[in-house]
Amino acid sequence: MADDRDREGTEIAVAEFHKKIKEAFEVFDHESNNTVDVEEEEPTGYIRFEKFLPVMTEVLLERRYRPIPEDILHRAFEVLDPAKRGFLSKEELIKYMTEVGERFSQEEMEEMLSAAIDPESNSIHYKDYITMMVVDEN
């Protein structure tokens, strides 16, 4: 009995996810042809809605891509600031973001700096930065 209700609950949830995904898809599907562009250097392909839907549904159901918690983000900055000064210099941030990991493009770097950097000290006080960004997210 409970099982049936659970299944029905999941079915309804899935149907709702489908509708939500379709709505969001349509915002980006400005040509109304059921495809959205993939942002690449030279866009070669489109994603068709039929392919997109099952993948996205699974992502939502399994709750992947949850937002990164504030404290983990803070700890990440602290790792890059072993002397625990409470800030990173502009050069340090640029070095890490553009040379390590999944590197930032120049545009991304400039974009991040425009909000993060304190122009007087030319550094990023990451605790304040995080607080500001996280408030905005909500």
Binding site: I72, G101, F104, S114, D136
Partner: protein, 651 residues
């Protein structure tokens, strides 16, 4: 630290650093993506509402026809109204004499133009407008008369040739955004024989410097008539100007001579060319095409007979039924409505439709040609239509404007259609970029993008997004409150248990059903309503932050709501009735119009209090109503707003 740091410790350190960097990068990208999505959503909201308004505008033309048909008193007693609505030319001679008599006082310290105009006059105007000076009505009218004379000599389509050393620049909608025109002239150079331009319509409305843009463009045209090309857009239309702000701008800036200026502009619009053809390859028009677009016909028609999109040709025999779909037709059985030479004064229905298609259509990915239900005029045309029409006339490309694009331009239909839009920050600061295109034969078009900003340094992306988003949400909430009664009805229909709550699906369905804006309601719900922990929506919270100010306390909400919802339409209707621009109409006219309005728009509202309402608002006790004051009293108050009344406009 000293020597002896083992390499494994170093590895561990860099591994930790790598992980930390990844965390930050992933988080940042997720955050950015969210911001971009919010921007897209906001743009979708703006666009949906804008097109719904345009639809309302076209609906208005039906109302005018309906009004003429039924308001027989108008026909008999107020033939001035009829001539104002449908007639063409008051004699030119009349107008020129008027203008010459205007005096420019010595105290006027604005720009003074010297005819015949030269390029120094273009500079003069630009410098003056940068300092927010206003060009005296005398010069305005002089420019307008000269422009009209010159435009009358232009064909419907200007044919242009380019060469590798003579590229041509194509700009899209400017919509009164003077800063964008300044930027274009600055970045791309002033127009000249070696630097030709095409401005592809929609110079006016919405922005606050439509007049200044027109002056600069017309003066540029007068100085370089063979190198500065102007195409008509759907906003070069006196009826559109009434709703979208240009009429207000003119009457405000030119209190004495504004009406005259507006009259001359009405005419000038009709003489603007329909399009340009570059190198026999590129067709440049404002909106788009339809499957029946006939360029040969369009070359031949007398374009100046199309006064306004809202004035479709009246059939003389009573035999025309309105077609279904987007075509704005009339059902009048005319009996001598028109005063003189009626038949020859207008285009045929077919010709009229051809032009409307050119000015109003939008390209879409779907094949075929469909009525443009978003705007209510023109059509949606697919890639097959583009190919068919381009092939038919041996053209290679269509460049058009008419739609705001986030990046200022967009390519579709397999590279055959380009949209170029030149008003950056069109909806709100940060909403979109503007662009222009440089073209010459043999080379692919080059795109230039920009975004005007008032701040000396650009605000960070998230701040810009917040501004764009809040304004979009505000506009949406204003729509919602103007349909409050209908929305509540539908909500309650679905809330069988009278709990005050609905599922997200039910709420989204209701919203789309009543508002019909094709928006992603589920994703927007967090901005618009409160949701409980079970995920159900408290639907009355849709209205909590906002209410319509009641001009008089005791009047019923439904009446207030209805007047608020239709305030733009009512303002236009009143303006048209008030043919001598006095700002007043009689109580009797007001009542008759309201009655007709109710009937045509099928609004069911108890207006027994309407008389009381107008009286109580302390309007002129002599039986006439200042309708602008009347309508201004219906505005929306946002609960958490620092600027409320001054921020909301009637139209």
């Amino acid at each position: 630290m000293g020597c002896g740091t083992s390499s494994s410790m170093k590895d561990k350190k860099s591994e930790k650093a790598l992980k930390a960097a990844l965390v930050i990068q992933n988080w940042y990208r997720g955050h950015s993506a969210q911001l971009k999505t919010r921007q897209r959503y906001a743009l979708t909201i703006f666009q949906s509402i804008e097109y719904a308004d345009e639809q309302g505008q076209l609906e208005l033309s039906n109302f005018f026809s309906f009004m003429l048909e039924n308001y027989t008193r108008l026909l008999e007693e107020d033939s001035e109204l009829v001539t104002h609505l449908f007639d063409s030319n008051i004699q030119d001679k009349d107008r020129q004499d008027y203008w010459v008599l205007i005096d420019v006082p010595d105290s006027y310290c604005g720009p003074r133009l010297q005819f015949p105009l030269t390029f120094t006059d273009i500079d003069l105007l630009i410098e003056a407008f940068k300092q927010q000076q206003i060009l005296h009505a005398y010069y305005v009218l002089e420019v307008l008369f000269e422009t009209k004379k010159l435009l009358q000599q232009m064909p419907n389509f200007t044919h242009i040739k380019t060469s590798p050393s003579k590229e041509i620049t194509i700009c899209g909608d400017l919509h009164g955004k003077l800063d964008d025109l300044f930027l274009i002239y600055y970045k791309n150079g002033l127009p000249s024989v070696s630097n030709p331009y095409v401005f592809n319509g929609d110079f006016v409305d919405r922005g606050k410097n439509s007049m200044e843009i027109l002056m600069i463009l017309f003066v540029s045209f007068l100085v370089y008539p063979n190198d500065l090309h102007l195409n008509r857009g759907n906003h070069e239309d006196f009826m559109m100007n009434m709703r979208y702000g240009f009429t207000n701008e003119v009457l405000h800036k030119y209190k004495l001579h504004g009406k005259k200026i507006l009259q001359v502009l009405e005419d000038i619009y009709t003489w603007l060319p329909i399009g340009t053809i570059i190198d026999n390859e590129i067709l440049v028009i404002h909106g788009g095409i339809s499957e029946s677009t006939d360029l040969n016909l369009l070359h031949r028609i007398e374009r100046n007979k199309l006064k306004s999109v809202l004035m479709p040709p009246i059939p003389i025999d009573g035999d025309h039924a309105t077609e279904k779909g987007n075509k704005v037709g009339t059902t009048i059985t005319a009996r001598g409505i028109r005063t003189n030479g009626s038949l020859s004064e207008q285009l045929t229905k077919h010709e009229w439709e051809q032009v409307i298609d050119i000015l109003w259509s939008d390209p879409r990915g779907k094949r075929g040609c469909y009525p443009n239900t978003g705007r209510g005029g023109g059509c949606y045309f697919g890639p097959d239509i583009t190919s068919k029409i381009l092939n038919k006339y041996q053209l290679k490309m269509l460049i058009r404007s008419h739609e705001c694009k986030p990046e200022g331009y967009e390519i579709c239909h397999d590279g055959k259609v380009i949209t170029v839009f030149s008003a950056s920050n069109y909806y709100e600061e940060g909403s979109n970029r503007g662009a222009y295109i440089r073209v010459s034969s043999g080379t692919p078009p080059r795109f230039f993008q920009y975004q005007v900003t008032r701040a000396t340094c650009l605000r960070p992306l998230y701040q810009r997004m917040n501004a764009v988003e809040s304004r979009a949400i505000r506009m949406l909430k204003e729509r919602m409150i103007s349909q409050k009664t209908d929305l509540i009805r539908v909500f309650q229909l679905q809330d069988s248990s009278k709990s005050g709550k609905l599922s997200v699906g039910q709420w989204a369905f209701s919203m789309e059903n009543i508002l019909g804006l094709n928006l992603p309601w589920r994703s927007l719900s967090s901005h618009l309503v409160t949701t409980d922990k079970d995920g159900n929506i408290d639907y009355m919270s849709s209205f909590q932050d906002i209410h319509i100010q009641k001009p008089v306390k005791e009047v019923q909400s439904t009446l207030i709501e209805t007047v608020y919802r239709y305030r733009s339409d009512l303002q236009i209707i009143f303006n048209v009735i008030d043919s001598n621009h006095s700002g007043l109409i009689s109580m009797e006219e007001f009542r008759s119009i309201w009655k007709l309005f109710k009937s045509h728009y099928r609004v069911c509202v108890d207006d027994s209090q309407l008389d009381e309402l107008t009286e109580r608002m302390d309007l002129n006790k002599d039986g006439s109503i200042d309708f602008n004051e009347f309508l201004k009293a219906f505005y929306v108050v946002h609960k958490f707003d620092k600027l409320s009344k001054s921020d909301t406009k009637v139209a």
